[in-house]
């Protein structure tokens, strides 16, 4: 039986980013097991957005650190990941909203994020074609941005393979061998691997794998839908957020975006016309020149949502089992910092950021939930 220092379940951004930092920490024998292809889960389906405009210290600090890594990765990873700091333009539609977001901006500034409230005139300068009717102002952060998920994963995969990490795709974890407080080996539909440490970063399936190991994670899966258009010449660099609508233009020229259709908890990824209709009418009302642009693809993926809409990171009741889940729609942007935090925890038994200490699974037992208000799409 092959044996590994760390086995990572899940070939999404979290699995790959953690493996990247495990390599950096000097861990030698690492394997990633992915049920389908790398990126087949939520990462390959996400909206590409990366922002620091959040409403809690935990999210703001983690994302500030994550953006630093995104910038570094754009420079040092073997292939371009198309990280672009085009900003996030968060439209505000009333004076109350404006007042509320001023408080968030103050908090963001306190922790070193360069966001600010801007006027309609400034919005017009940033996105000239936006329809300003009914808009009061915007919360604007120029260092927010986006990256291209599949390029990020390809690049990380290339790095990991060249550093001796085993990546097993189209291989599914089906069972575990364990003692009372440790996992000894992991069984897949093809093989069995002995291990010292196990990270479950299996996205929507993290909870069910944990259940198999005898503990629960309070997360729920919600379907979220998203579309891309035909490509056009670049005319839009920020991510625009208008209530539950978000959209930007990828470096390949396609408009990518989504909206919230308030769906029930589900494990079904069927697409709906209801979404298409809501998205189109919201998009066209704020950016009417897009009305004749054709949509090319429509797909869906899961938001894995925790009770306080913050990630659940690190230790579990089993001594050598670690988890990363519950990003509630922000796991792509958090990927680099969460990977670094999880790798540190697995290597050294602790986090290196105080804020991450608040994000462990035992907070729910202890009743120490964190509340986040700015969740979109």
């Amino acid at each position: 039986m092959k044996s590994y220092d760390v086995v990572v379940v899940g070939g999404g951004i979290i699995g790959l980013a953690t493996a990247y930092y495990l390599v950096k920490n000097g861990v030698r024998k690492i394997a990633i097991i992915e049920k389908e292809y790398i990126g087949s889960g939520s990462t390959g389906r996400c909206g590409t957005g990366i922002r620091q405009q959040f409403t809690t210290k935990e999210h703001i600090v983690l994302m500030r650190e994550s953006v630093k890594i995104w910038r570094l990765w754009e420079e040092i990873l073997p292939k371009p990941i198309h990280f672009r700091q085009g900003g996030y333009l968060w439209l505000l539609r009333s004076e109350e909203e404006d007042n509320e977001y001023r408080k968030y901006v103050a908090l963001q500034n306190l922790f070193g994020v360069d966001s600010r409230i801007i006027s309609k005139d400034e919005i017009k300068e940033i996105v000239p074609d936006i329809n300003l009717e009914g808009i009061f102002g915007a919360s604007w952060c120029p260092s927010d941005g986006s990256a291209y998920p599949q390029d990020v994963l390809d690049s990380l995969e290339m790095f990991l393979k060249s550093h001796g990490v085993d990546i097993f795709d189209y291989e599914s974890v089906v069972d575990f061998k364990k003692t009372s407080d440790r996992v000894i080996s992991i069984k897949t539909d093809k093989d069995e691997y002995a291990l010292d440490n196990l990270l479950i970063a299996a996205g929507y399936a993290t909870k069910s794998l944990a259940n198999k190991l005898g503990f629960d994670i309070p997360v729920k899966n919600y379907r979220h839908q998203i579309v891309v258009s035909e490509p056009l010449k670049i005319f839009l660099s920020p991510m625009v957020v208008d209530r539950s609508l978000y959209f930007t233009q990828t470096y390949r020229g396609r408009i990518i975006g989504g909206t919230d259709t308030n769906e029930e908890e589900t494990d079904d990824l069927t697409l709906t016309y209801n979404f298409l209709q809501k998205f189109s009418s919201e998009l066209v009302s704020v950016f009417s020149k897009l009305s004749s642009v054709r949509l090319m693809r429509h797909w869906s993926g899961f938001y894995v949502v925790s009770p306080d809409k913050h990630p659940i990171l690190g230790p579990t009741p089993l001594k050598n089992v670690f988890i990363g889940t519950g990003y509630s729609g922000h796991g792509f942007m958090l990927g680099p910092i969460v990977g670094k935090l999880l790798a540190h925890y697995i290597t050294y038994g602790m986090f290196f950021l105080e804020e991450a200490n608040h994000l462990t699974l035992d907070r729910f037992e202890k009743g120490m939930l964190i509340q986040e208000k700015a969740v979109i799409g």
């Binding site: 074609d129 035909e230 005319f235 009417s288 897009l290 009305s291 004749s292």
Partner: protein, 466 residues
Amino acid sequence: MEIFEHPILRFERKSKITFFFEGNPVEAYPQETVAMALYRNGINVFSYSPKLHRPRGLFCAIGKCSSCLMEVNGIPNVRTCILNVQEGMKVKRQNGLGDLPKTSEFLKSEKEYSPTVLVIGSGPAGLMASITLKEKGVDVLLIEQNPNLGGQLIKQTHKFFGSQKEKAGTRGIEIANELVKELNSLDVNYFTNTTLFSFYPRENVFLAFKDNELLKIFPKFVVFATGASEKMIPFEGNDLPNVMGAGAAQTLVNVYGIKVGTNVLMVGAGNVGLIVSYQLLQAGINVKAVVEASDKIGGYFVHAAKLTRFGVPIYTRTTIKKAVGVDKVEKAILVELDENFNETSKEFEIDVDAILLSVGLQPSYQLLAQAGCEMKYIPSLGGYVPLRSKELETSVKNFYIAGDVGGIEEASTAMLEGKLASLSILKKLGFDVEKEKEALELDLAKLRSTPFSKKILQGLKEVAYE
């Protein structure tokens, strides 16, 4: 480049209208598409590609390949081969990716339809399906993305083989005329210039655009009769304007009376290549040569003989290596192949201004795949095709197929399949059609009993399910 005399066809050219190309006024006939009007006026370059700025023009001419995208009235990426010209229309070449549209208004209205049966595609299969259903009083809605009903039949000037019942001895265009006449006398509800582009199973809604109107269609049954499109083969310069599918040349010549070139090369000596070559000769176009990669002519002997009579050389074991030209084909470089289909050092060039590809067709399966029908790759049927029951029902309940979308054959089998799909639906609706169906299945089997059908029958076996 207009054709004035033709042994079979008459081209109606009455009034003229004016539209603008790159700011210049251009004359066109109403009822013709933008792409055809441009060709008539000697314009072959429709856009420049995004990365390498290479010129691009027409390829399929039936709305299936996106090679003809241009900016029309401020909206980029418009398929000009299926858009009718209008007085005053502003048409521009697209340089790379399109610009953000200049107009803010697009969707003018929405309409809902709940037909018993939705038929997608108005070729022989779709027409037959619609007629068979409407004859029994079933409510049908027929959708066609091209300006004319009839699919590929409207450009077939040759007489069909097969049995009398399937209109053998009649020209394709006449069959199309007859079927359309029947469709109209039955008062079938149809829309042309309407592209059906999406299906959502949850709401059971099909979406289509007819100009600026969104059609929402909620059918009980669907017949997918979306046909096929021409395949491309790799060679240097294959994206040069006037390298196009043989079917596109047929559209230019036989539907609109426009010469595709003066001297042309046909690549592929299957039936399509041979028949189209002959039709070009009839229209006064010089077919310089036909090349065929295998060592045998694939099509029927009678078709090849007609070309030989005109003195057209058919080079077997030869293929195209390169298309040469700046904005349009000016020369073709050909190469002889050895018995393993490898290129030899024997190359020769011919001066041609159009290179037509008849290297096979592939089923237009995209909507079926989107609708979740189980698909399989079957080379002898042309590529990805849906699994289907004997009654032509796909793996998705109440979704039927007919014609080339289920496997490349020809118009007679397409008509019979269109009828069969409809009879299967009628049966589910409670009509007594058992006898008619049995007779039809016999006819279909008879049509497929020639040696040419062997591979097709084998392919059909692989996609059959109960």
